[in-house]
């Protein structure tokens, strides 16, 4: 029908030129927005979106509330949408376009699809007409036909679509990636599996990712490497860095460190490397004075240790203003800017701090005097020299229990010269007990 013909039939018809490119862009944007429901969203051009909500429905209160929420939000933005939720993408596609929409109970795909027209199987125009020519108009009619005859007569497409719609064959969704995620992929003509090949693949991917990061002025903080196996059991590794990095060799080394975790199975078809977390990283002038050792740059070392040991196990320690020795230290990231802060220099502190303090039996001559001896782990230590007490009060402003906390610390030296740090947890008249808190001394 031409535009003039249509205009003649409907007076006052509003005509808008078709713009497929703008439609595709808008669909992609809507797809990204749909990632609020589940991470895997696939485009179904020209007018559909597929969301894999496996394991994500409970986050929105269940399947029905999720569907209601999605419908309401789309309606508010002026998008007229038909929604269906089913076991397979194929079934949901058919029910949304040709059925009632809504939720198809699990396992009911064949019953719900049966009365729908064959076009609901996502078939091409040719295939639909070929089926209609022989009187096969409903999906239910296909189910009881011999498969071999169907394939001979109409080709593989119909069975392929039918199997996917009924869940007999798995349908992978090409997940939509946020366009701002730097991403590179390698597809292999033959599946690879050897460790050395994977190492080369990693190096290659990193070398390709770095120019992409450079172009956008970004450095990677986290990399996700996904290996698509031929049997569709994808393998993935994730690494994080302590600071934004754009050093291909360094990133490849970090990934290679984790490569042992990858089970290539029967082979790997595709490798995708994406920088799932990035930070701005300004370009730096490459030095031409390349001779000699580089200035100390801890990032490479810290990253390697972070990947090998885990993020919580590499750190620096910084002073905290607290009288209680066990609270005097806090962890800061290994590459945090130096603070220059120090603990009070005039307070001697032990080299080893026992956490928790261990109970000891101690005997003092007179109250508030340093003890004469103490027994720790069945060993009696005679004290030759001592210093104290250094009274430490609890931080009463943090909790009620702290207000009652009083410790009298004594530094003691045994006859052999060994130094210990003892405390009594209450004054003598309040039956204070003795504890050993530290060994050695500076």
């Amino acid at each position: 029908m031409s535009a003039a013909h249509a205009g003649a039939m409907v007076p006052g018809l509003h005509l808008v030129p078709a713009d497929p490119e703008a439609d595709a862009t808008a669909l992609a944007r809507l797809g990204l927005w749909c990632q609020r429901y589940a991470p895997i969203v696939a485009l179904d051009p020209p007018d559909g979106l597929l969301i894999d909500i496996t394991g994500a429905a409970h986050l929105h209160g269940g399947e029905a509330p999720l569907l209601a929420d999605l419908s309401a939000r789309l309606e508010r933005t002026g998008i007229l949408a038909r929604l269906a939720l089913a076991d397979t993408p194929g079934c949901a596609w058919g029910v949304a376009r040709f059925g009632e929409g809504g939720i198809v109970p699990s396992g009911d795909a064949s019953r719900v699809l049966a009365p729908l027209p064959v076009a609901a199987l996502r078939l091409g125009f040719e295939a639909v007409r070929a089926l209609q020519d022989v009187g096969l108009t409903r999906i239910g009619q296909l189910g009881d036909k011999p498969r071999a005859a169907l394939r001979l007569r109409f080709g593989a497409e119909i069975l392929f679509r039918l199997d996917r719609a009924l869940g007999h064959a798995l349908e992978p969704l090409a997940a939509l990636d946020a366009p701002e995620t730097p991403r590179v992929a390698l597809r292999f003509a033959e599946p690879v599996g050897a460790h050395e090949s994977l190492q080369r693949v990693v190096a290659d991917l990193c070398a390709r990712l770095v120019p992409e990061l450079e172009r956008r002025g970004l450095g990677a903080r986290r990399l996700d490497l996904v290996f698509a196996r031929v049997d569709r059991l994808d393998q993935a590794i994730r690494i994080g860095t302590a600071g934004p990095s754009r050093d291909a060799a360094h990133l490849a080394r970090l990934l290679t460190e984790r490569l042992a975790l990858i089970d290539p199975g029967f082979g790997i078809e595709e490798a995708v490397l994406s920088a799932s977390r990035v930070e701005p990283l300004a370009e730096r002038q490459a030095t031409h004075l390349a001779a000699g050792p580089q200035a100390p740059d801890l990032a490479a070392l810290v990253d390697t240790l972070l990947v090998r040991l885990g993020a919580a196990r590499v750190y620096r320690l910084a002073p905290v203003e607290s009288d209680l020795p066990e609270r005097a230290v806090r962890r800061v990231p290994a590459l945090a800017a130096p603070r220059g802060a120090l603990w009070p220099a005039d307070l001697p502190r032990p080299a080893r701090l026992l956490a928790p303090p261990e109970p000891v039996t101690a005997m003092a001559e007179i109250p508030d005097a340093p003890p004469l001896f103490f027994v720790w782990r069945n060993t009696r230590h005679r004290i030759a020299r001592a210093d104290g007490p250094e009274r430490i009060l609890g931080e009463w402003w943090t909790a009620d229990a702290e207000a009652a906390l009083t410790r009298d610390y004594y530094r003691v030296e045994t006859e052999a010269g060994e130094r210990f740090w003892l405390f009594r947890d209450a004054p003598v008249e309040a039956n204070g007990r003795w504890w050993l808190h530290g060994l050695g001394e500076a």
């Binding site: 490479a300 070392l301 320690l317 130096p338 220099a345 307070l347 502190r349 030296e413 050695g440």
Partner: protein, 253 residues
């Protein structure tokens, strides 16, 4: 003219070290060695000090060797007198950083990594030793056999980073350590301080240089590290090695 590089510029500490040495009148020492400032100790070491870019083992003597509380302070004092960051591979969470700060090792300089088992400490140490620019790497180990010690020594030689292994002996373990490729082996133990009237004096340590490639073993009583990590000779004991008969027996055996 060769380009001026930052690591060629002598730091204030290095200059001070040079002037200290000039003041004591001893012969110019090997720049790859760190003098302790205790004459007898430096004389026993080849190059007039602790060799940098090499592996050194530190044991703690006495019944509390498991905690190696004196040994970590000795290691901290050595690193305090070097420039650059330090990697410290922990064996457990009982190290108390304020004590290291008191021997001159600033917390901003130390990166800790929690490597609970020897099997994790050794690779982490080697990784650190391959990284030029570190002042040193400390590893708290329960035991070290010959092969790992060779690897660490080679890595230290290659990069010039000093490696210190602090041994945390298990209860009931033999005090005599296994053979290793370390340049020196120290035994550090607390010694009675000279306090008057039951008051504590500056802590003293008994340092046994048990093994030293190209040097002479010996034993010394020293005053513990000060806030700059420097040892000192006790006033009453100057120029006299402690317990020489014990050293001779060890050398004969």
């Amino acid at each position: 003219m060769p380009p001026l590089r930052s690591h060629d510029v002598p730091t204030l500490d290095a200059l001070r070290r040079l002037t200290d040495r000039a003041g004591t009148g001893s012969e110019p020492a090997d720049p790859r060695a760190l003098p302790f400032g205790v004459a007898g100790l430096d004389a026993a070491l080849p190059g007039g000090g602790l060799a940098l870019g090499a592996l050194h083992q530190i044991h703690e003597g006495g019944p509390r060797g498991r905690y190696a509380a004196t040994a970590v302070l000795f290691a901290g004092g050595i690193l305090a007198r070097l420039d650059g960051p330090v990697l410290w591979c922990l064996h457990s969470r009982d190290l108390f950083a304020p004590a290291l700060a008191r021997v001159g090792l600033h917390p901003d300089r130390v990166v800790y990594c929690e490597t609970w088992r020897d099997a994790e400490v050794l690779p982490a140490m080697e990784e650190g030793l391959r990284h030029r620019g570190l002042a040193g790497v400390v590893g708290e180990l329960t035991r070290m056999t010959l092969t790992p010690s060779r690897r660490l020594q080679l890595a230290a030689e290659g990069s010039g980073v000093t490696a210190l292994v602090v041994h945390r002996l298990c209860a009931g373990e033999a005090v005599e350590p296994e053979p290793s490729a370390a340049r020196t082996r120290w035994r550090v133990a607390p010694a009675p301080s000279e306090g008057t009237n039951r008051r504590m004096g500056r802590p003293r340590w008994r340092l046994d240089l048990q093994r030293c490639r190209g040097g002479a073993p010996g034993a010394w009583i020293v005053e513990a590290c000060d806030a700059q990590g420097r040892l000192a000779v006790p006033a009453g004991l100057a120029d006299r090695p402690a317990a020489p008969e014990r050293v001779q027996r060890r050398a004969a055996g």
